[in-house]
Amino acid sequence: MEPLRVLIVDDEEEFVNPLVERLNLRGFEARGVTTGEEALRLIDGNQFDVVLLDVKMPGLGGLDVIRSIREKYPRLQVILLTGHTSVQDERTGQELGCFEYLIKPVNIDQLVEIFHRACGQNRGNQTS
Protein backbone atom coordinates (compact mmCIF):
# COMPACT_ATOMS: atom_id res chain seq x y z
CA MET A 1 0.00 0.00 0.00
CA GLU A 2 1.18 3.51 -0.84
CA PRO A 3 2.32 5.60 2.13
CA LEU A 4 -0.11 8.30 3.31
CA ARG A 5 0.92 11.74 2.05
CA VAL A 6 0.79 14.26 4.87
CA LEU A 7 1.35 18.02 4.79
CA ILE A 8 2.29 19.74 8.07
CA VAL A 9 1.61 23.50 8.17
CA ASP A 10 2.81 25.49 11.18
CA ASP A 11 4.70 28.79 11.50
CA GLU A 12 6.99 27.16 14.10
CA GLU A 13 9.72 25.58 11.97
CA GLU A 14 11.16 23.98 15.11
CA PHE A 15 7.86 22.12 15.45
CA VAL A 16 7.46 21.18 11.79
CA ASN A 17 10.90 19.66 11.15
CA PRO A 18 11.02 17.03 13.92
CA LEU A 19 7.37 16.10 13.35
CA VAL A 20 7.99 15.54 9.63
CA GLU A 21 11.03 13.39 10.46
CA ARG A 22 9.07 11.34 13.02
CA LEU A 23 6.20 10.75 10.60
CA ASN A 24 8.60 9.69 7.84
CA LEU A 25 10.22 7.24 10.29
CA ARG A 26 6.71 5.78 10.74
CA GLY A 27 6.22 5.17 7.04
CA PHE A 28 4.39 8.36 6.05
CA GLU A 29 5.38 10.57 3.15
CA ALA A 30 5.39 13.84 5.13
CA ARG A 31 6.32 17.35 4.05
CA GLY A 32 6.26 20.56 6.03
CA VAL A 33 5.80 24.28 5.35
CA THR A 34 5.64 27.31 7.64
CA THR A 35 2.99 29.53 6.01
CA GLY A 36 -0.57 29.15 4.77
CA GLU A 37 0.43 30.65 1.42
CA GLU A 38 3.14 28.00 0.89
CA ALA A 39 0.68 25.30 1.88
CA LEU A 40 -1.87 26.33 -0.75
CA ARG A 41 0.83 26.48 -3.44
CA LEU A 42 2.09 23.01 -2.50
CA ILE A 43 -1.41 21.52 -2.40
CA ASP A 44 -2.11 22.91 -5.89
CA GLY A 45 0.84 21.08 -7.36
CA ASN A 46 0.95 17.87 -5.34
CA GLN A 47 -1.11 14.98 -4.05
CA PHE A 48 -1.83 14.93 -0.31
CA ASP A 49 -4.13 12.69 1.69
CA VAL A 50 -4.30 14.82 4.83
CA VAL A 51 -3.22 18.27 6.01
CA LEU A 52 -2.31 19.10 9.60
CA LEU A 53 -2.91 22.82 9.90
CA ASP A 54 -1.98 25.33 12.60
CA VAL A 55 -4.80 27.80 13.34
CA LYS A 56 -2.81 30.92 14.30
CA MET A 57 -0.19 31.90 11.74
CA PRO A 58 1.05 35.21 10.35
CA GLY A 59 -0.57 36.00 7.01
CA LEU A 60 -3.08 33.34 6.01
CA GLY A 61 -4.24 31.63 9.19
CA GLY A 62 -5.43 28.04 9.38
CA LEU A 63 -9.11 28.96 9.10
CA ASP A 64 -8.40 30.96 5.90
CA VAL A 65 -6.43 28.04 4.48
CA ILE A 66 -9.14 25.49 5.23
CA ARG A 67 -11.71 27.75 3.49
CA SER A 68 -9.53 27.76 0.35
CA ILE A 69 -9.00 24.01 0.54
CA ARG A 70 -12.74 23.42 0.87
CA GLU A 71 -13.41 25.44 -2.30
CA LYS A 72 -10.87 23.62 -4.46
CA TYR A 73 -10.38 20.23 -2.86
CA PRO A 74 -13.52 19.36 -0.87
CA ARG A 75 -12.39 15.75 -0.32
CA LEU A 76 -8.98 16.61 1.17
CA GLN A 77 -8.99 15.87 4.90
CA VAL A 78 -7.84 18.67 7.20
CA ILE A 79 -6.93 18.40 10.87
CA LEU A 80 -6.59 21.65 12.81
CA LEU A 81 -3.92 21.95 15.47
CA THR A 82 -3.52 24.86 17.83
CA GLY A 83 -1.98 26.15 21.03
CA HIS A 84 -5.20 28.11 21.68
CA THR A 85 -8.19 26.47 23.33
CA SER A 86 -10.62 28.85 21.64
CA VAL A 87 -14.19 27.53 21.55
CA GLN A 88 -14.99 29.93 18.70
CA ASP A 89 -12.08 28.71 16.53
CA GLU A 90 -13.02 25.09 17.19
CA ARG A 91 -16.64 25.77 16.20
CA THR A 92 -15.56 27.56 13.02
CA GLY A 93 -13.17 24.73 12.17
CA GLN A 94 -15.95 22.18 12.57
CA GLU A 95 -18.30 24.28 10.44
CA LEU A 96 -15.62 24.28 7.75
CA GLY A 97 -15.46 20.50 7.91
CA CYS A 98 -12.18 19.83 9.70
CA PHE A 99 -11.80 16.17 10.63
CA GLU A 100 -10.41 16.87 14.12
CA TYR A 101 -9.46 19.91 16.20
CA LEU A 102 -6.39 19.13 18.30
CA ILE A 103 -4.68 21.09 21.06
CA LYS A 104 -0.86 21.10 21.23
CA PRO A 105 1.11 19.19 22.30
CA VAL A 106 -0.17 15.99 20.68
CA ASN A 107 0.96 12.41 21.24
CA ILE A 108 2.45 10.99 18.01
CA ASP A 109 0.60 7.66 18.32
CA GLN A 110 -2.70 9.54 18.66
CA LEU A 111 -1.81 11.66 15.62
CA VAL A 112 -0.93 8.60 13.53
CA GLU A 113 -4.23 6.96 14.46
CA ILE A 114 -6.16 10.13 13.50
CA PHE A 115 -4.35 10.34 10.14
CA HIS A 116 -5.31 6.76 9.33
CA ARG A 117 -8.89 7.34 10.41
CA ALA A 118 -9.12 10.56 8.37
CA CYS A 119 -7.85 8.78 5.27
CA GLY A 120 -9.99 5.70 5.72
CA GLN A 121 -12.49 6.81 3.09
CA ASN A 122 -10.76 9.16 0.66
CA ARG A 123 -7.23 9.49 -0.57
CA GLY A 124 -5.72 12.41 -2.43
CA ASN A 125 -6.74 16.02 -2.98
CA GLN A 126 -6.54 15.67 -6.77
CA THR A 127 -9.01 12.77 -6.99
CA SER A 128 -12.51 13.70 -8.08
Partner: protein, 231 residues
Protein backbone atom coordinates in the same frame (compact mmCIF):
# COMPACT_ATOMS: atom_id res chain seq x y z
CA UNK B 1 -15.91 52.82 16.81
CA UNK B 2 -14.67 49.28 17.45
CA UNK B 3 -16.87 47.02 19.62
CA UNK B 4 -14.26 47.13 22.40
CA UNK B 5 -14.34 50.93 22.57
CA UNK B 6 -17.98 50.90 23.65
CA UNK B 7 -17.37 48.56 26.59
CA UNK B 8 -17.26 49.74 30.21
CA UNK B 9 -13.78 49.86 31.73
CA UNK B 10 -14.13 46.59 33.68
CA UNK B 11 -14.92 44.78 30.40
CA UNK B 12 -11.94 46.43 28.74
CA UNK B 13 -9.74 45.25 31.64
CA UNK B 14 -11.06 41.73 31.12
CA UNK B 15 -10.42 41.74 27.37
CA UNK B 16 -6.88 43.01 28.02
CA UNK B 17 -6.33 40.27 30.62
CA UNK B 18 -7.69 37.68 28.15
CA UNK B 19 -5.56 38.92 25.26
CA UNK B 20 -2.33 38.78 27.27
CA UNK B 21 -2.91 35.44 29.00
CA UNK B 22 -4.18 33.79 25.79
CA UNK B 23 -1.14 34.98 23.86
CA UNK B 24 1.41 33.93 26.49
CA UNK B 25 -0.21 30.58 27.19
CA UNK B 26 -0.33 29.98 23.43
CA UNK B 27 3.40 30.67 23.25
CA UNK B 28 4.07 28.32 26.18
CA UNK B 29 1.97 25.63 24.47
CA UNK B 30 4.06 26.06 21.32
CA UNK B 31 7.25 25.62 23.32
CA UNK B 32 5.87 22.49 24.99
CA UNK B 33 4.80 21.11 21.60
CA UNK B 34 8.30 21.63 20.16
CA UNK B 35 9.96 20.00 23.17
CA UNK B 36 7.45 17.14 22.85
CA UNK B 37 8.47 16.56 19.22
CA UNK B 38 12.22 16.91 19.86
CA UNK B 39 12.24 14.53 22.83
CA UNK B 40 10.04 12.18 20.80
CA UNK B 41 12.56 12.33 17.98
CA UNK B 42 15.39 11.43 20.39
CA UNK B 43 13.29 8.52 21.58
CA UNK B 44 12.73 7.44 17.95
CA UNK B 45 16.50 7.48 17.38
CA UNK B 46 16.99 5.19 20.39
CA UNK B 47 14.31 2.78 19.14
CA UNK B 48 15.99 2.76 15.72
CA UNK B 49 19.37 2.14 17.38
CA UNK B 50 17.94 -0.82 19.29
CA UNK B 51 16.91 -2.21 15.90
CA UNK B 52 20.49 -1.99 14.61
CA UNK B 53 20.60 1.49 13.06
CA UNK B 54 23.70 3.34 14.30
CA UNK B 55 23.15 6.43 16.45
CA UNK B 56 24.35 9.67 14.85
CA UNK B 57 25.95 11.89 17.55
CA UNK B 58 25.54 15.04 15.41
CA UNK B 59 21.77 14.53 15.19
CA UNK B 60 21.52 13.89 18.95
CA UNK B 61 23.56 16.99 19.74
CA UNK B 62 21.48 19.10 17.36
CA UNK B 63 18.17 17.96 18.90
CA UNK B 64 19.47 18.55 22.44
CA UNK B 65 20.64 22.06 21.51
CA UNK B 66 17.18 22.85 20.13
CA UNK B 67 15.54 21.57 23.30
CA UNK B 68 17.79 23.80 25.40
CA UNK B 69 16.90 26.81 23.22
CA UNK B 70 13.18 26.09 23.66
CA UNK B 71 13.60 25.76 27.43
CA UNK B 72 15.13 29.25 27.47
CA UNK B 73 12.28 30.56 25.31
CA UNK B 74 9.70 28.93 27.60
CA UNK B 75 11.41 30.41 30.66
CA UNK B 76 11.08 33.91 29.16
CA UNK B 77 7.36 33.43 28.48
CA UNK B 78 6.73 32.13 31.99
CA UNK B 79 8.60 35.15 33.40
CA UNK B 80 6.48 37.47 31.24
CA UNK B 81 3.30 35.78 32.45
CA UNK B 82 4.50 36.00 36.04
CA UNK B 83 5.39 39.68 35.64
CA UNK B 84 1.95 40.33 34.16
CA UNK B 85 0.25 38.56 37.09
CA UNK B 86 2.18 40.72 39.57
CA UNK B 87 1.12 44.00 37.92
CA UNK B 88 -2.01 43.84 40.10
CA UNK B 89 -0.06 43.53 43.38
CA UNK B 90 0.01 47.28 44.07
CA UNK B 91 -2.60 49.78 43.03
CA UNK B 92 -0.02 52.54 43.34
CA UNK B 93 3.75 52.30 43.29
CA UNK B 94 6.79 54.06 41.96
CA UNK B 95 8.23 52.36 38.92
CA UNK B 96 10.50 52.92 35.96
CA UNK B 97 8.37 53.54 32.87
CA UNK B 98 11.10 52.05 30.68
CA UNK B 99 10.63 48.65 32.33
CA UNK B 100 6.84 48.78 31.93
CA UNK B 101 7.27 49.60 28.25
CA UNK B 102 9.91 46.91 27.78
CA UNK B 103 7.64 44.24 29.32
CA UNK B 104 4.68 45.33 27.20
CA UNK B 105 6.75 45.38 24.01
CA UNK B 106 8.09 41.88 24.73
CA UNK B 107 4.56 40.57 25.27
CA UNK B 108 3.33 42.32 22.10
CA UNK B 109 5.99 40.82 19.83
CA UNK B 110 3.72 37.89 18.91
CA UNK B 111 0.87 40.30 18.10
CA UNK B 112 3.31 42.06 15.75
CA UNK B 113 4.49 38.80 14.21
CA UNK B 114 0.93 37.65 13.54
CA UNK B 115 0.34 40.92 11.67
CA UNK B 116 3.69 40.58 9.87
CA UNK B 117 4.82 43.86 11.44
CA UNK B 118 7.93 44.96 13.31
CA UNK B 119 7.79 46.53 16.75
CA UNK B 120 10.76 48.63 17.86
CA UNK B 121 11.28 50.50 21.14
CA UNK B 122 14.05 52.98 21.77
CA UNK B 123 14.22 53.48 25.55
CA UNK B 124 16.02 56.49 27.06
CA UNK B 125 19.34 55.93 28.88
CA UNK B 126 18.28 56.87 32.41
CA UNK B 127 15.32 55.75 34.55
CA UNK B 128 11.90 57.34 33.93
CA UNK B 129 10.12 57.41 37.31
CA UNK B 130 6.32 57.28 37.49
CA UNK B 131 3.88 56.71 40.35
CA UNK B 132 0.94 54.65 39.12
CA UNK B 133 -0.78 51.28 39.02
CA UNK B 134 1.47 48.97 36.95
CA UNK B 135 -1.56 47.09 35.55
CA UNK B 136 -3.16 50.32 34.32
CA UNK B 137 0.06 51.66 32.80
CA UNK B 138 0.80 48.44 30.91
CA UNK B 139 -2.86 48.26 29.85
CA UNK B 140 -2.82 51.68 28.21
CA UNK B 141 0.58 50.96 26.61
CA UNK B 142 -0.80 47.68 25.24
CA UNK B 143 -3.85 49.47 23.82
CA UNK B 144 -1.63 52.02 22.05
CA UNK B 145 0.64 49.32 20.63
CA UNK B 146 -2.36 47.23 19.54
CA UNK B 147 -3.91 50.27 17.85
CA UNK B 148 -0.59 51.15 16.21
CA UNK B 149 -0.05 47.62 14.92
CA UNK B 150 -3.65 47.47 13.69
CA UNK B 151 -3.01 50.59 11.60
CA UNK B 152 0.38 49.38 10.34
CA UNK B 153 0.17 47.47 7.10
CA UNK B 154 1.84 44.12 6.44
CA UNK B 155 5.60 44.51 6.49
CA UNK B 156 5.37 47.83 8.33
CA UNK B 157 7.12 48.99 11.49
CA UNK B 158 5.76 50.63 14.64
CA UNK B 159 8.46 52.53 16.55
CA UNK B 160 8.09 53.70 20.17
CA UNK B 161 10.00 56.49 21.90
CA UNK B 162 9.83 57.52 25.55
CA UNK B 163 10.57 61.06 26.70
CA UNK B 164 9.84 63.27 29.71
CA UNK B 165 6.79 65.51 29.37
CA UNK B 166 6.67 69.12 30.54
CA UNK B 167 4.36 68.27 33.46
CA UNK B 168 6.90 65.92 35.09
CA UNK B 169 5.18 62.89 33.61
CA UNK B 170 6.14 60.74 30.66
CA UNK B 171 5.34 60.95 26.97
CA UNK B 172 5.24 57.76 24.89
CA UNK B 173 5.34 58.35 21.14
CA UNK B 174 4.11 55.55 18.83
CA UNK B 175 4.95 56.17 15.19
CA UNK B 176 4.29 54.16 12.05
CA UNK B 177 7.09 54.19 9.50
CA UNK B 178 4.79 54.22 6.48
CA UNK B 179 1.81 56.32 5.37
CA UNK B 180 -1.70 55.40 6.51
CA UNK B 181 -3.97 54.09 3.79
CA UNK B 182 -7.36 54.30 5.49
CA UNK B 183 -7.72 56.91 8.22
CA UNK B 184 -11.38 56.08 8.94
CA UNK B 185 -10.51 52.42 9.61
CA UNK B 186 -7.61 53.64 11.77
CA UNK B 187 -9.96 55.73 13.90
CA UNK B 188 -11.96 52.63 14.82
CA UNK B 189 -8.79 50.77 15.77
CA UNK B 190 -7.52 53.66 17.90
CA UNK B 191 -10.82 54.21 19.75
CA UNK B 192 -10.17 51.56 22.48
CA UNK B 193 -6.78 53.15 23.26
CA UNK B 194 -8.42 56.58 23.53
CA UNK B 195 -11.09 55.20 25.86
CA UNK B 196 -8.55 53.53 28.15
CA UNK B 197 -6.23 56.57 28.15
CA UNK B 198 -9.16 58.83 29.00
CA UNK B 199 -10.42 56.55 31.78
CA UNK B 200 -6.94 56.56 33.37
CA UNK B 201 -6.49 60.32 33.27
CA UNK B 202 -3.92 60.17 30.47
CA UNK B 203 -4.03 62.22 27.29
CA UNK B 204 -3.79 60.51 23.89
CA UNK B 205 -3.10 62.77 20.95
CA UNK B 206 -3.81 61.14 17.59
CA UNK B 207 -2.46 62.02 14.19
CA UNK B 208 -4.13 59.68 11.72
CA UNK B 209 -4.60 61.13 8.24
CA UNK B 210 -4.50 59.44 4.85
CA UNK B 211 -1.03 59.56 3.33
CA UNK B 212 0.76 60.47 6.59
CA UNK B 213 2.39 58.06 9.04
CA UNK B 214 0.31 57.26 12.13
CA UNK B 215 1.44 59.10 15.27
CA UNK B 216 0.03 58.51 18.75
CA UNK B 217 1.36 60.56 21.66
CA UNK B 218 0.39 59.24 25.09
CA UNK B 219 0.95 61.66 27.98
CA UNK B 220 1.01 59.93 31.36
CA UNK B 221 0.96 62.21 34.42
CA UNK B 222 3.75 61.85 36.99
CA UNK B 223 1.24 60.43 39.47
CA UNK B 224 -1.74 58.37 38.40
CA UNK B 225 -4.25 56.78 40.75
CA UNK B 226 -5.33 53.16 40.20
CA UNK B 227 -8.43 53.05 37.97
CA UNK B 228 -7.73 56.44 36.64
CA UNK B 229 -8.05 59.46 38.97
CA UNK B 230 -5.03 61.52 38.00
CA UNK B 231 -3.56 63.55 40.83
Amino acid sequence: MSPDAAKPSSDRDRTYFGAITASLSHEINNVLAIINELTGLLSDYLVAAAGGRPLEPDKLEHAIGRIQAQLERGKQHVQQLNHFAHTVDNSRQQLDAREALDQTVQICQRFATLRKCRLEADPPQGPVPLTCCPFDLEHVLFRCIDAGLGCTGTGGTLAIRTEPSGSGGVRFVFEGRQPLEDASAAAARIAPAEQVADSLGCNLEVQAADGLPLRLVLEVPAEMECGGSAS
